[in-house]
Structure formats: C-alpha cells, structure tokens
Symmetry: D2
C-alpha cells in the first residue's frame, strides 16, 4: 500500500507504468541526509492539532509534523553511527529586503516569531553539521549545497523534513537534475495538506526519487560498505 493509493486512481497508476515511469534509481555508495526546515515554525513548540498549532505559527503543519520528527530520529541516529554527513537547509529569519514574490504570495510567512526559527531539539544539528540558510523553496537554490556535496563526495541524498509539496519537492527535483540518487522516506516528510502530501510523493516516485518508508530505506542503506579511510 503506497501513500497515494487512495488518491491517484488505479487507472492513473496503470497509465504511468504503461508509459514507463517509476523505475528505481537506486542507491549510490556515499549517502548524505538532508533535514529540511525542521524548525518550530513548521511543527509548533509542542504537538497540537493543525488548527491549534497555526495559532502559534501560521506556517505550522501541527501533529503530522511531530509524527515525522519521530520517524526522522532513528534515521538520523543511523547516519550519526555511520559517520555520514547530515546537512540542515533551513529558513533564516526574514529581513525587510527578503520579500519579493514570497511576501506577496504568503504574507504571513514574513512575521514568524524568533523562536520559530530554532531547530526542533529532537533532530537538531550538532557541531560539524552543515547549516544552510535559504530564502527559496529548493535547498539548492542560491545556497552552496551542491559545493558542500561535491566536497564531501556525496552521490546519494536522503531527503526529510517539510513541506512535502514545498521545499522537499523543490529540493528533490533539483537533486535529481544534479544527478544525485534521491531517496524520500515517506514517513519523514510532512505537509499541511494530506492530499497534496500524497500526490507529491506520487510525482516524486514516478519521476525523480525512490519513495519508501524510513525502515525500508534504512535496510537499503545498511548494504552500503563503510567508506575506506583516505590514505
């Protein structure tokens, strides 16, 4: 059972398969984990329903976000254990000059309280992680992410965080275009719309990434041998 099975009809799924979409792109030898926008502004400082949570931050996804955070915890621990890189693209506090089209389209996004920009403690960065403030949906757009990945010798990205239909989707499309292998653990990404979440997972699975549960993806990652130490 895929997350989109109740929304994308069997006929539509058959059409995609008939046209040749949705093959696996597989896993490389050097993975990195992206934790995108897992800040209190996207889940609230405590788990609450969506409607309660947006009273604290209008950008919050509420409970679904906290469930995803719990699913990221063991995945992050596995990356720590293996010594694989973890990178944190995140939204920086907005300045008056940061408006542009964003301020027109979603004015509420310009006035989030400072606490909202803190990383959620359960999956927060530690010393040595790469922090990437960003101003646009994709973690690659106008950031040095690709330079870091080339420096680290990464060929595979596991993409977590939020929102599925926003910054996750935008980052996955760019990661695919840069020719990274992309894996999206469906239980580690979240969105304020269940429908949009599911359809974006379908779009990514069809064209850009391998979508599976965090448990399935960890299974695949376990098959990667340790990197030989540089001489």
């Amino acid at each position: 059972m895929k997350p989109w099975d109740n929304i994308i009809s069997e006929e539509e799924q058959r059409a995609y398969r008939a046209a040749g979409f949705g093959n696996p792109s597989g896993v490389g030898a050097h993975p990195a984990l992206l934790v995108i926008d897992v800040q209190y502004r996207t889940v609230g400082t405590t788990p609450k329903s969506f409607w309660e949570s947006i009273k604290e931050f209008p950008t919050s996804c509420g409970e679904v976000g906290w469930r995803a955070v719990q699913a990221i915890v063991p995945l992050l621990a596995e990356f720590r254990r293996r010594g694989w890189p973890v990178l944190y693209p995140h939204v920086a506090p907005k300045k008056s000059t940061d408006g542009g089209r964003l301020a027109e389209k979603i004015p509420a996004i310009m006035n989030i309280a400072e606490k909202g920009y803190e990383f959620v403690a359960e999956v927060a960065p530690r010393e040595g992680d790469v922090l990437l403030p960003k101003k646009h949906p994709s973690a690659f757009f106008a950031t040095p992410l690709v330079s870091h990945l080339i420096d680290l010798g990464v060929d595979t990205l596991v993409v977590t965080g939020c929102t599925t239909s926003g910054c996750v989707r935008g980052s996955v499309v760019d990661a695919f275009a840069y020719n990274f292998h992309v894996l999206v653990p469906s239980d580690c990404v979240y969105d304020r719309s269940a429908t949009s979440h599911a359809v974006n997972l379908f779009d990514m699975a069809s064209k850009y990434a391998d979508v599976a549960t965090a448990a399935e993806i960890m299974e695949k990652l376990r098959a990667i041998p340790d990197r030989p130490l540089a001489a």
Copy 2:
C-alpha cells in the same frame, strides 16, 4: 470552480487560507510567454486517447495535450500582437551521455523517435523566438533562460505547456525563486494524470503563481500599457 475543487477537500483549502497562503502575486509591466515541451512527443502527431497515443510516443499525454494546444493558440497570438517575447524551452534529442538518473527512473524517455522532438505546428516558434534546449525538468536548470529574461527586461512569466507536474511545476518554482511574477493559465498546461494535474495547480496557486484560465489571464495582460520605445 477551481480545477482542484473535487480533489483538495474544502477543509484542506480552508487550512491553506487560514495559514495565509494563496494571495495573488500580480502582474508586472513586461511579460514573456514560456511554451514548454509542446513537441509531438508530448501530444502525439494526431489527437488520440492517452492509451492509443502512448503507442506512438510513451511520453505522450494524448487528447488533454491537444486541448491545451488549442488554448495556447489565442494566448500566443496576443503575445505576437503585442510584440512580447515568446521563449521555447524544449527537450532536445537524447544522446548516449545524457542518461544519468533520468535514464534509470524513466528509461522509455531515452528512445523517442526523431519526429517526437519537432514543435507542434499550431504553436511552433518563429524567427526571433528564443529556443532553449534543456535536459532537466526546470526550464531554468542549466540553461541561459534567466540571462535571456534579464536581457529582455522581463518581469512577468506566463507559463504554458507540459507536464503540469513535471517541467511546468519545476519551471514555476524556479521562476518564483528568481522573483518573476508567474501566471499559469490552467487550460494551457497538461499532464498524463488528471489528479496530479489538479493538485499541482493547487500547489502552484497556493505558493508560487497566480493560476487562472487563459481568458482571465489575457484580460489582466490587456491592462499592461505598451512599452515605450527605447530612445
């Protein structure tokens, strides 16, 4: 009635509005038209049902594509009449070195017959239009599109073509990140999945672009005064 009203529930739409999404980003003074991937490979050489059409090209969307082509015709004519720029991002024939993740994810896309790469005659480019061969979903990725738009003094993009959930979506996200005003005429974009088409329109309308019918968008464009001639 919006194209996504039967798929995104009223509760979900209310959630987006409550969180402050979906405001208009408006129209600038210098529009350009993008016609993305309107080649026979995406509609077939003649209008046929999806299932018949993919026998000719597996990448074809069939009849929905031909309906969109008909809707692009008057919009394109209006851009010609006003002397506004028209640009054609399009898929170039694949070479053996063009594989990467794309060849893994969608192998069928690597072997399209040459005729499939021709522009659909009804909306084909003419002398003086900018042609932009591309290898990745977004019309901006690894192409000189943004350099052309800066040279032309463009501040507003009307995005047409296909697929709604692929190259159109990717291009709209980048256009928004570059701070162009973005307009998506919902009847001028097409996709092989009606559900994904509708949800991608909803995503774009919520976060990145103003989505309306071609007729409504032409009405807005008519309000733009002619550009003064350079001295």
Copy 3:
C-alpha cells in the same frame, strides 16, 4: 591613460582592438551598486602599508584599499541621493565546515579575527540595503543576488570593492553572463598586486565591462532619468 598602459604593451592592445574587443556595453536605466568585501579584513582597521597591514589581517590589501574606500564614498552618496539600490556581498565568518578547496589553497583565510568581518564604517550598509553573505569568489555564486536584482528591476551594475583579481573579477564575469550592463570604476576596486589589478582591469574592459574612473561613471549615471513612481 588607462591603468594597464604600462603593463599591457601597445602591440597587445592593438591586437585586441584589431580582433574587435573592448567596445562599450553602455548603461541601462536602472542601476545598482555592489560594494564587495569592503570589510576591515581587506584594508585593516587603520590605513597602513601592505606589509604592516597583513600583520593585522593576512587578507588585507593595506593603503590601496583605503584609497579605494575614499573613492567609493561619493559614488555611494550619489546612489543614496538617487534612491538606487546598494547591495553588499561580503565574506561571512568561516565555520569549520566551510573549508573545501579554499582552506587548501589559502589556509590563512580560515582564521581571520572577528573584527575583520565588520564593514568599513565609511561605506557601511544602512537599513534597507541588501546584505549577501557569500563563501565563494563571485557575488552571484550560491547567493540570491540575481533574485534580488530581478525583484528590484535592475539592469546595470556598478561594481566596487575587492579584490580586483578575485571577487570583483568573478562577480563581473557572472554579471556579464547574466546580461547586466557592468561598469567598473577603476579607482574604487583594489588588490594586493598592482600588476594583477591592472591586467584584470584590462581583461574586464576588453570583454565584460566598461572600465572608467568613478568621476566618469558618475557623469554617465547622471544622464539616467529618475524612475517613474509605480502607480
């Protein structure tokens, strides 16, 4: 007399002209000023000779930097008076994860004292200016500079700061590639090598930008009419 006349021979200059290089690219209607890396790390906290100044910051250019700062002052004042945008690409304090090739090539650059990252007071940014921290030579690389310029409707860049052969050169090449009109006031850019400074000005004048004194460039800018207020 051009800054490169004693270094690039008359024969070489004749060769460039014969091949058709060095024509003016002219001025547009909407200029912005870039002030690149004018921080104490590139001039020292007080004017001193190069050899004294590098004892404070190894990245300092010393006296030539202070002379350029003085030349930037009236140019900046003119931009303030006209209400034209001023943007500050600058080097952010280095973190342990920022090394890459830079830390190998120029290790000293990784350990500059915090004071070095402050803007030089004489030409420092004020509220409303765009601040662009960067990690690479070009002000465009991995920063949202081009998005800001599109949002501001800029078509012309006046590039000042340092070093002529480093971040100024890299930014000018990218600005040219993006199709902005580029003006380099030769007395407002500086470098630790007089030879490299002069030859980089020659390269830019031949291929990418119009190079002249700040006084000459201000004369050209005065011809630009005030921008009509948006309705």
Copy 4:
C-alpha cells in the same frame, strides 16, 4: 621558472606568499579533462601568426593556440588510455537571439564562419565524450556540466583550451567554487595576449588551481590508482 616570473615582480610574489596564498590544492581520485573552445575559430584552420590568423577568424589566437593543441595531444591520450572522462565545452554558432551584452562588447564574435565552430581535428571529441555548447565564458554557466561531473563521480578537473583570460579563467573560478580540485597545465591553455595569459595563470595559481606543465601534471595523475570496477 614560472610563466609569470617576468611580469609579476618578485616583490609582488613575496607579498602573496606572505599573505598565505598559493598553496597546492592537490589531486583527487577521479579526474576528468575539460577541453574548452578548441575550435578552428580560436586557432585558425592552419597555424599562422596572430596578425595573419585574425584575417580568417577575428577570434583566433594564432600560433600560440597551435602550440597548446600539440601539448594537449599527449594529455588527452593519457585520459583515453586510463578511461577517464573527457568533456568538450564549446561555443555554438550564434543565433540572432544570442546577442545581449556579448554582442555589444565584442560585435565581431557574432559573425564567425561556420567552419570556425568545428573542433580542431588533433584533439577532437569522439563517440561517448560529453559535448557542452555554451553561450557564456564559464563552462559551468547555464550548462549541465556540474550534473555530468556528479553523474561521473569526478572530483578533479584538468582544464585546457582557451582563452586563458576568458573561458578558462571563468571555468576555473567556478570549478574551484564547486569544490573540485583544479589543475591547469600552463602549456595547454592559450590567449591572444602573452601578458594577460601569464597574469591569469598567476591569479589562478595563487587562489584557485594548481598550475604546472602538462608533463608535471601527467606525473601527478599517474599516481592515481585505477578505479575499481562497479560490482
């Protein structure tokens, strides 16, 4: 004896060393060769002096170009022997829409005869090489070069071709910013100005790349072990 020793004074070189510039960035494990713009338009169809050669193509560098072509031959052969990737960024024939700032700055560049765009036979691409048409100085700007390099697992670039002060310099600065190890064989790059050639080599050696003769670079490359075959 370095190529710049007669142009950059000993005092200036001492200043760069004192400030900590010019350390080696070294060689990685997976090299690729860039052959940039080695087309008849940059050397002429037969070796002639600069002044004779520009009568055929105003963009020709003449004899110095042919000497560099001879130096590229054994380097290219070594890359072929080892099975390492070779990529050809090159200038595509200009269309009327390709003007922009380039057409203003160097009008002669817009009207080169078709033969000028052919690759020089001695170092021409063969089946399986990546061909990258480009419109701007850097081989990375608005091309899929970085996507190809990520797909190929490349970490080191050897950059050859022309001109030293133009497309080579621009590509090297970007390659450095992307965190590739960059090697420039000084006898395999060429320019229409001997002074600018030498100073650009100095700039690159100081800040972005390791500059040495082709023979020295081949010696370093021989130390790289063969890549293990993928399982």
